[in-house]
């Protein structure tokens, strides 16, 4: 409890690290902050061209089908892989200054969240412009979905950030893990394409529930399946608790290992 209070006390640090990251990233480029929107928009452009001209799939508006799942997936996978380097890259800070170390993964994941929310603006704009539209009743369900994903992302970032300090290979291993995980999550395909007997295995992956829920709300314009989402929330809490505990143990020797 004390730790939570302390982390809350350091909220300004979390905010400034996020701000520094968001603002620092595009500083010096001509278009600056506009890149935050341009980047997903251009990605979408590429998908549209590839999947509606070259590689046609049976799914209607495949570029949207993919895009509404890919944006949340990027949030998760960049928390996983970015988490790995978030302590190491702040080596000097960790070695020289005291602050609750949790601040680093928290600001990383929150920064990725903010990035996703900004990209979501593009998603909504495209949904409206393309005439697909949104379902205002299903839309509020996006909030718990985002929350569940945040729990999962934070839990995994606690683990990847702290373990990588001791085992530097993890940074590279996680890139592969993230790619494999993406293919095992219905990001590029629909869960219905998965053979029946494997589907139960798929639902164990909490990210499947999360991605499917995003797609339900944004693409199918319907209220997401709540039972799988609840399981994912439970798993998210367990992952977060376990991740934080592990982080708490490993954190004690960060300064020496770095």
């Amino acid at each position: 409890m004390n730790k939570i209070q302390e982390i809350y006390h350091y909220r300004t640090m979390i905010a400034s690290l996020i701000k520094r990251d968001l603002r620092g990233r595009y500083k010096g480029s001509v278009l600056g902050f506009a890149w935050t929107f341009l980047n997903p928009l251009l990605q979408l452009g590429v998908y549209t061209v590839v999947f509606s001209v070259i590689m046609r799939s049976g799914i209607e508006d495949y570029y949207l089908f993919l895009f509404v799942a890919l944006i949340p997936w990027i949030f998760f996978s960049s928390s996983l892989t970015g988490g790995a380097s978030c302590i190491i890259s702040q080596k000097e800070l960790v070695k020289k200054i005291y602050f609750p170390r949790e601040v680093l993964p928290i600001s990383l994941v929150t920064c990725q969240l903010v990035n996703m929310l900004l990209s979501m603006i593009v998603v909504f704009a495209v949904l409206l412009v393309s005439g697909k539209g949104v379902n205002l009743i299903a839309l509020p369900f996006l909030i718990p979905v985002i929350l569940v994903e945040y729990l999962l992302a934070l839990g995994i970032a606690f683990i990847s950030s702290s373990v990588t300090v001791y085992l530097r290979d993890l940074e590279h291993i996680l890139l592969i893990v993230a790619m494999a995980w993406q293919f095992l999550t219905p990001v590029m395909y629909s869960i219905d394409m998965v053979p029946e007997r494997l589907r139960a295995v798929f639902w164990i992956n909490p990210m499947s529930s999360v991605i499917v829920a995003y797609r339900d709300v944004l693409y199918y314009k319907q209220i997401p399946r709540l039972n799988t989402l609840l399981t994912a929330a439970g798993l998210g809490l367990i992952l977060l608790a376990a991740g934080w505990m592990l982080f708490g143990r490993l954190e004690r020797h960060f300064a020496e290992e770095l």
Binding site: H9, T12, A15, S16, G28, L93, Y98, L167, A255
Partner: protein, 446 residues
């Protein structure tokens, strides 16, 4: 445990131990971890072997010692960057550490934005930073540049900004690591004054530094850490002298060994020659009988003291004087060289390190003493206004441009006893008038 703690103590450290694993070739990749399981032998280096001390509210303590002695580790343990293997640390109140300046600075962001980032890393909230912003900018003297990106700053400006943030993070306990060499001399002076101010407001300070004079200026106490244990502790000036003497001895020892090695190397050729040389240069000599055991003697000995006496005006050697009683310092010297001239000086230090008085022939008479084979120089202090305390006498002979011929610190300890109860460094003669009439002494008092 908390209950055992003395209320007055802001920092209490008990039997602190810390060791590091030193891997000759450290592997932190999986391949190395798996393949070389049995190669992962490491040495354990005990950096701290049981350190205990406490620091009171408003007290400033300096940690000194040679590199690798454990002083920085101690500071890191205090600031919770590292955790001890065993032992206890109790800290009361908010801790701020000036170990790293300019943490988190982003070169492309303005000075003002960086103040926010940097201060937030020290644990300040937005509101707290807002409140300090003006002070920080004013202290840094960077008003005109505060909205420019930090990458356009000179390194001096950068450090000034960084220091201003760090020093304006009010804390109950301030931990400082070797950072007072910031900016130009006048800014350093300002930082120093600010440290004193902070201390006067009741902040407890722990400083790690190699700059001993800085510690003497701020700290009441020095803790000398040697090889992971506390070697000496007490009034800075004395601990530092002890420390410096030890360092000097070590240096001479190494020098002596080198000399010896050289001598051995060319032994057969010029055996006699070298031996003589080695001996005459080895300075690890005994102190002469007129020096106290605490004395430290340095200098090239082209002119050297043969005797120094502290006496009353009647020529009797004494070490206790009343406040107001004149005293005499008599210095005998000899010199092998002809044609030198010397600047003779005396210095008086109070036992808490305060430099109570110092003068020399150049200051007093704007001239030097022509040096003969042997001679005697006498200073008579007619108006001794030192107040009761223990003091130390220093004597020195320098050349006009400051080359030390012979310089003996702490040569004679002496004491001043009271005749009045006034307080301070020295007595300022005074008289009082009330309503225009000279005040009289109470009749019944002597």
């Amino acid at each position: 445990m908390e209950a055992m703690m003395n209320e007055e103590n802001m920092i209490e450290v008990r039997d602190l131990k810390k060791g590091f694993k030193i891997y000759p070739d450290k592997g932190s990749t999986i391949k190395e971890k798996l393949l070389f399981v049995n190669r992962r032998k490491y040495e354990r280096r005990e950096v701290l072997r049981g350190i205990s001390f406490s620091v009171k509210r408003g007290e400033a303590v300096g940690l000194i010692g040679h590199n690798g002695c454990g002083k920085s580790t101690t500071l890191k343990l205090l600031s919770r960057i590292m955790y001890p293997d065993s032992g206890q640390i109790v800290m009361r109140g908010r801790v701020s550490s000036l170990i790293e300046l300019g943490a988190g600075f982003h070169p492309d962001m303005s000075g003002r934005e960086n103040i926010y980032i940097n201060a937030s890393i020290f644990g300040l909230t937005k509101k707290e930073i807002d409140r300090r912003l003006e002070d920080i900018i004013e202290f840094s003297e960077l008003e005109e540049f505060i909205d420019n990106p930090v990458r356009t700053y000179s390194s001096g400006m950068y450090m000034r900004l960084a220091f201003s943030v760090a020093i304006n993070v009010d804390a109950d306990i301030l931990l400082v690591d070797e950072i007072l060499a910031v900016g130009d001399v006048s800014f350093q002076e300002k930082c120093f004054d600010r440290m004193r101010e902070i201390k006067a407001m009741g902040t407890t300070i722990v400083i790690v530094s190699h700059a001993l004079p800085q510690i003497e200026q701020i700290c009441e106490r020095t803790i000398w850490i040697d090889n992971g244990v506390i070697r000496d502790e007490g009034i800075p000036k004395y601990v530092h002298e002890h420390y410096l003497r030890e360092m000097e001895n070590k240096r001479l020892e190494i020098l002596g060994k080198e000399e010896q090695r050289k001598a051995e190397a060319s032994a057969s050729a010029q055996k006699d020659d070298n031996e003589k040389k080695g001996k005459s240069e080895g300075q690890g000599e005994e102190l002469p009988s007129f020096c106290s055991p605490l004395s430290i003697r340095i200098g090239n000995k082209k002119i050297q003291f043969t005797d120094v006496k502290l006496m009353d005006t009647g020529g009797r050697e004494k070490t206790v004087f009343k406040s107001g009683e004149p005293f005499v310092v008599q210095m005998d010297y000899k010199s092998d060289e002809q044609g030198l001239s010397g600047n003779f000086g005396i210095g008086i230090f109070r036992d808490d390190g305060v430099h109570a008085y110092g003068t020399n022939t150049l200051i007093e008479h704007d001239s030097l003493v022509p040096i003969r084979m042997e001679g005697r120089v006498v200073v008579t202090v007619t108006d001794n206004c030192l107040l009761p305390a223990r003091y130390m006498l220093d004597v020195a002979i320098h050349s006009e441009d400051g080359i030390r011929y012979d310089d003996i610190r702490n040569i004679i300890p002496f004491r001043i006893t009271a005749n009045k109860k006034d307080i301070g460094v020295c007595r300022l003669d005074n008289f009082w008038t009330v309503d225009g009439k000279l005040m009289e002494k109470r009749k019944y008092e002597d």
